[in-house]
């Protein structure tokens, strides 16, 4: 798959034009307007730096436009920026330098932006400028003579209002005849003092009158960043965010699950061969359902993030949370990703795409699976229910609720500790200290939101979906074979399922790994449950239910209480003792069991190295912490 990544920009035919500009300059909306939704997103080979490519064509001529990561300057300050500069200069192995540059410049920050223009023109590359936000410049009392600006810089300048689509047809036409563009006859100076003098002379010739500060933005920020009102507004926004995810996405997920259960049931009835019917029902249809079930969350999360980012709130949230996140070595931009992971690590990991530094992004992605995701909840509910009597209380608080709170806190704090450890060791800072521009508040367009939601949804379905379906089929095979048709012919359905599972390859694996998990108090049946949890953590509950042939596999606590060791020194003793349940709970806090998370880590980090490291690392941590918890629990009980 990595060869696809390296070759993705090559797979389009035509001259290559790179889009270069500062963050918030409107680069993405210009790119999306030019190329439409047929965009290929991918990483540079071997790294976590994303770029997107799309085609612009009038039928006769085609050019390939690549959207580079936003940057304020071309003096590389981090490995990520080094890669972009290397790409621009044609120093990146296997990637040709772009044939021309389209510089996206924010008209409301023209003086600052000309610094980047000067640095880009100094490469000697054929260029043109797309001047964005001209409507906002005018609205705030500023002005610039575009023709004179073009004359002063020495390259074509096209005014556009990217999110409204104004000026885009002319820009597209100009792009297709890019060989008429030029490099300026006199290149701008390369040194700082020279650039400042050049900027001043260009602005004078273009009769530039800067925009007044936006009074609306200043006024809103006065409330939004206020020590009291700002935090209240922040809490309200985040509460709304989560209410939406849980109250809208959760029922939609329920419908998808029911739909696929029904589809599976219908197709199973039509197939007489029992194994084939189970393959279709559980592995194929169940696998596809297991992919689609994530869509409501991914869709909603990205829609809301696009909305908040489009408005300008996301950077304000980062300002508010920066001090808190700094404790973990990350910055405020990681907050929304971490919070999203409380619902599910999949959209949480995908949302790190907005983070500019690949080291911060990796640290956040690797810490995200520790956040207490919603798939852990059924497991916690089952085990806490077995551990703590329902009526027990501690002061005015219910003991079960307190136990749940402890589990959530343990996950959240551990995620921060892991991020901090990663940032101070393997992902030690290679970039700049934190800085963030606060753009003016703007009204986002529906089109802009749709464009930002489409790309992650497509990526998830195409790239992550495959891995999830394949691993679902593999797990199904492990738990259904070898076949025992003759033995189970006379049994009741529940007993037959239990028999097949107890004699499956998964059971053999469970028996094989029992010595590893015995110090934690896990017998081979718990180990089979852990194997089942690889599909999704909540499957642990139903797999255990199936192992013990529970009346209701969805709530097997009564049957589990009577499960005893079948061999070894503890034969006949109950398996689910208090210390074992505690160990199991702690194991679930730390272990990276979810194949879907591993698949999305693979996709987003562009290598198997990080997911493999996380799987082994978190597995070892889970074992050690569970052992410690069990030892402590045995000492106090």
């Amino acid at each position: 798959m990595s060869t696809h990544q390296g070759a993705h920009a090559r797979s389009f035919e035509g001259a290559h034009i790179a889009l270069l500009g500062a963050p918030n300059a409107g680069k993405s909306s210009v790119f999306n307007r030019l190329t439409g939704l047929r965009v290929k997103t991918g990483n540079y080979p071997g790294v976590t730096v994303t770029r997107a490519s799309g085609q612009v064509s009038d039928g006769a001529t085609t050019v390939v436009v690549t959207d580079l990561p936003g940057t304020y300057g071309l003096e590389p300050a981090s490995p990520d920026e080094q890669i972009v500069v290397d790409h621009l200069l044609g120093r990146l192995p296997g990637t040709a330098a772009p044939d021309a540059l389209l510089l996206v410049v924010d008209a409301t920050a023209l003086r600052r932006s000309l610094g980047l223009v000067a640095q880009a023109l100094a490469t000697g590359r054929t260029s043109a400028v797309a001047l964005t936000m001209t409507d906002e410049l005018a609205a705030r009392g500023g002005s610039v003579d575009v023709a004179a600006l073009s004359g002063a810089i020495g390259v074509p300048v096209h005014p556009v209002v990217g999110h409204r689509g104004r000026g885009i047809p002319a820009l597209r036409e100009s792009l297709l005849s890019w060989d008429d563009w030029s490099a300026p006859i006199v290149a701008p100076p390369a040194d700082r003092a020279g650039i400042t003098a050049w900027t001043t002379s260009v602005l004078d010739r273009a009769a530039y009158r800067p925009a007044r500060p936006s009074t609306a933005t200043r006024g809103i920020d006065h409330v939004i960043l206020h020590p009291v009102w700002g935090l209240i507004a922040f809490a309200a926004v985040m509460t709304g965010f989560f209410q939406l995810i849980f109250s809208v996405a959760a029922p939609a997920q329920g419908w998808i699950e029911s739909l696929f259960a029904w589809l599976g049931g219908v197709s199973a009835q039509g197939i007489s061969h029992p194994v084939l019917s189970d393959l279709v029902q559980t592995a194929l249809i169940g696998g596809v359902g297991g992919v689609l079930v994530f869509l409501p969350q991914i869709f909603l999360l990205f829609a809301m993030m696009a909305l908040l980012e489009g408005v300008g709130y996301l950077s304000r949230a980062a300002v508010l949370m920066d001090r808190v996140m700094a404790v973990s070595g990350l910055d405020g931009r990681a907050f929304v990703s971490m919070l999203s992971s409380v619902a599910c690590a999949i959209p949480g990991i995908m949302s790190t795409r907005t983070m500019p530094s690949s080291r911060d992004r990796l640290a956040t992605m690797l810490a995200a699976p520790l956040m207490p995701c919603s798939a852990r909840l059924p497991v916690y509910l089952l085990l806490v229910g077995m551990l703590v009597p329902a009526g027990a209380s501690w002061g005015p608080f219910g003991a079960q609720g307190l136990a749940m709170l402890c589990l959530y806190l343990l996950g959240g704090v551990s995620a921060m500790v892991v991020a901090s450890l990663l940032r101070s060791t393997v992902l030690r800072t290679g970039g700049l200290p934190f800085y963030l521009e606060l753009p003016s508040y703007r009204v986002p367009t529906l089109r802009g939101v749709v464009e930002q939601v489409w790309s992650p949804v497509k990526m998830f379905l195409r790239k992550v979906g495959t891995i999830i379906v394949i691993s679902t089929i593999a797990l199904w095979a492990l738990m259904s074979f070898p076949a025992h048709d003759a033995e189970v012919a006379e049994m009741a359905p529940g007993a037959a399922d239990a028999y097949v599972l107890d004699h499956s390859y998964a059971a053999s694996v469970g028996h094989a790994v029992e010595p590893i998990f015995r110090p934690l108090g896990f017998d081979w049946r718990i180990d089979v449950g852990l194997i089942g949890a690889l599909a999704a953590r909540e499957v642990f509950v139903s797999t255990l239910g199936q192992v013990v042939a529970a009346q209701d596999p969805g709530s097997p606590s009564a049957e589990l209480a009577h499960v005893t060791w079948t061999g070894g020194a503890r034969a006949g003793q109950p398996v689910f003792t208090a210390p074992t349940i505690v160990a199991l709970l702690v194991f679930f806090v730390y272990a990276l069991q979810c194949m879907s998370t591993i698949a999305v880590l693979r996709r987003e980090s562009n290598s198997w190295r990080w997911p493999a490291l996380a799987f082994v690392g978190f597995g070892s941590v889970a074992w050690v912490m569970a052992w410690l918890a069990r030892t402590i629990a045995m000492a106090v009980t």
Binding site: Y72, R111, P210, L320, R323, L438
Partner: protein
């Protein structure tokens, strides 16, 4: 308050150069330079963000927990932690 660069730099500064974090909320100043002890990459990025000599700067507000601080610099607003802001030299009270 004008956001354009005051093009007459090095006006007789009322006070000697201070560092950006010393500015109080609402206070205005003019950037006079960037700490030469910083790495080339950091100095370049500060300049790219608009912190070039002669540019008007204002300390707009502090985040609720004290950090980072939002500054108006030239035409835009940027927030910085103390580590980066400490590299910017300003003449206060412009």
């Amino acid at each position: 308050m004008p956001t354009a660069t005051a093009e007459a730099p090095q006006v007789a500064s009322p006070q000697p150069a201070a560092r950006l974090p010393a500015m109080r909320r609402g206070e205005c100043g003019i950037v006079v330079g960037v700490d030469g002890g910083l790495s080339m990459a950091v100095r370049s990025r500060l300049a790219d963000l608009g912190f070039v000599p002669g540019t008007a700067v204002q300390c707009l507000r502090r985040a609720p927990l004290g950090s980072p601080v939002v500054y108006s610099i030239g035409e835009s607003e940027v927030c910085l932690r103390a580590d980066l802001a400490g590299g910017v030299l300003v003449s206060r009270g412009a």
